[in-house]
Symmetry: C2
DNA sequence: GAACTTGACATACGAGACGTATGCGACCAC
DNA sequence: GTGGTCGCATACGTCTCGTATGTCAAGTTC
């Protein structure tokens, strides 16, 4: 019966992160009170500072979780899209891009990952979690550059621009009056723009 | 001798905005103290709240000023690039994009317009100043779509994606270890990606 | 198995920072 | 010249974060 201590600790960490996700998404990082947040989780600020160091640490943990979930979903969609074709990795990239745009319509992801995240933690490329989403895109881009599907562009630059464009498009869609009407336009424009990276057939 | 009152008021507004630009750029919006900031301008918080309503209002005014400066510079560069050619508006668009990327290397613009701005004021498309930069890009895109230089893509979507990609690229360049080496890669990748919007020759 | 030690978490405290309500004094009108 | 208006300063209350200290259960050692 060893590890009852760590078990409880992980449980509390999870509860705090869950409460933080809700509070940050609803009120924004700056306006979220740590007292309320921890009370919702049935704890106090003591637990928070012990586990995450400070408020930024908590945000980093939340962003890490969300980022991981996004990357997992993108991978899943990418795999599905590339699977039933005969290795059309280009379709997979477009599908991933569209998936990012759609995922970012979730207020939780918008507010926390796209708005507060960069402002508080700095540019995504230097996040502690190292940005799983970007890594996912980079993997795809690298494979396509090496296989000649994409032009011989700088892998890091292309990944960054594709990801940035997708997430930025999502922000625009979400802020628009009628997201349902605007989304397809954003996806289409993204596909066109990404096509600039494609090797001439 | 009329308007000595308004004159002084505008002068103070300008001093506050200038002090805010410096404070926000150096410490970030959240960590900038309004007491220090106003003291630097030789005033107190009373003037600030009277002129801008609250801290967000001040940020909005600062962002508006920076955005205007950026748009003016982009217009200038775009005009120069299109001028000596025979109406090659495409080159002008690329030049504008590159200009945005370079401008965003300025810490003031990065921190205030790209990071804190969206987080505090929300998505740029719904800023009070209505985002001059975006308007500038939109103008160019619309002209090119109508003249057939660009594919018949949704103007709003294309403008948003181009702008977002450029600014995002700038964030990446600035966060990298050696900006001087990375910048050309970002500009090249941007040009390639934008080329996806270009009508097939 | 009992005393000791560790460490996760709670509580208490201090230091700002924001926003508002109130007061003052200079400009403008008549 | 007098009254009013308005821009700005001052004073206050409230909230929040971060740290320092206390406490009690879980793990450890003999």
């Amino acid at each position: 019966m060893a590890g009852k201590r760590l078990e409880k600790m992980e449980e509390n960490r999870a509860k705090l992160i869950a409460a933080a996700r809700k509070a940050f998404a609803e009120k924004g990082f700056a306006n979220a009170s740590m007292d309320e947040l921890t009370a919702d989780a049935g704890l106090t600020r003591g637990a928070l500072y012990h586990n995450f160091g400070d408020k930024r640490g908590l945000l980093a943990a939340v962003v890490d979780q969300l980022d991981g979930e996004m990357a997992a979903r993108a991978r899943e969609i990418g795999a599905k899209s590339a699977g039933h074709g005969e290795g059309d990795s280009w379709q997979a990239l477009l599908a991933e891009g569209a998936a990012y745009i759609e995922m970012a319509l979730d207020p939780e992801i918008q507010r926390i990952v796209l708005l507060d995240g960069p402002a508080v933690l700095g540019d995504p490329s230097q996040w502690p979690s190292q940005n799983s989403c970007l890594a996912e895109t980079r993997k795809g881009v690298r494979a396509m550059v090496e296989s000649g599907v994409m032009k011989p562009v700088d892998i890091e630059a292309a990944s960054r621009l594709l990801n940035g464009a997708a997430l930025n498009a999502a922000l625009w869609v979400a802020a628009s009056d009628k997201p349902a009407e605007v989304l397809p336009k954003a996806v289409e424009a993204f596909s066109l723009m990404a096509d600039g990276f494609r090797a001439k057939s």
